[in-house]
Symmetry: C2
Subunit: 155 residues, 2 copies
């Protein structure tokens, strides 16, 4: 082997180790790592339903009352899930939660409850299919998201 071949051999060996480690990590997650994945999954799903509603409120997407109501209902239901993932010790690893969330857990829970209440209210209002009524309540849900993101989520 010349130096070039040796270098490549080392790089490929390192890449293989990295791949194996990554696969092992997926299969052998700690409860804390699994909890982080869980809350990310729930927030991701909320975002997925939130997006189309935002586009309709802004007028970027045509208002479809039935679709809007379904998304509002989904956000209201899913809003109850992320807290399950904020378990003790899950402040390490691949998380975007700021450190201060753990010393302000009561405030965080309160903010999450506000989000749940506003989302439930939006789901109720959305059944009426009236954008004039939907718009201000959608704003309140957005504000309840932002209140938490601002304090407790890394940009």
């Amino acid at each position: 082997m010349n130096l070039f071949q040796k270098t490549l051999a080392i790089i490929f060996a390192a890449a293989s180790i990295a791949t194996v480690s990554s696969v092992m990590a997926d299969e052998q997650k700690t409860p804390e790592e699994a909890a982080i994945d869980y809350r990310k999954a729930s927030f991701g799903m909320i975002k997925h339903h939130f997006g189309p509603m935002g586009a309709m409120v802004k007028g970027d997407k045509e208002f479809n009352a039935e679709e809007f109501a379904k998304n509002a209902e989904a956000v209201a239901t899913l809003s109850k899930f992320p807290m399950n993932g904020f378990i003790a010790g899950s402040d390490m690893g691949e998380t975007e939660a700021k450190d201060n969330i753990w010393s302000n857990m009561d405030d965080f829970k309160k903010k999450m409850e506000t989000f749940q209440i506003e989302a439930a209210s939006l789901a109720e209002i959305a059944k009426g299919g009236d954008m004039a009524a939907i718009k201000p309540q959608f704003g309140k849900v957005g504000e309840s998201c932002k209140a938490c993101h601002k304090e407790y989520k890394e940009d």
Copy 2:
């Protein structure tokens, strides 16, 4: 630069491009890629709640009726979400869904409905806190998962 340095420079440049592409991919997902992420998130959350129930049924974890009932309720609620992610065109990319799922969509939907019904029934039975009643229904939920995984999910 000698050959070793040049090789390293190329490798690091390639790594940078890969990182940038990965970040861009996250931010600019197609609706189909986003749908795949969504259904994975929902299945992951279901698994997260299913695991502790399985451990209690098997006796690997002490039976806690309240915890079991909460997990059963969560699975019943979340069972209604994965179908939202099986949108047309989401047969490509990072999916473990087999190709035959798309030509058997009616059967897949039927199997998902069976899962939803069995999960709802488990949530009801779990409220009673009687493991003798829970166990056979938990088995039915597990069977409804397996029925789909066997036909439509890559190992």
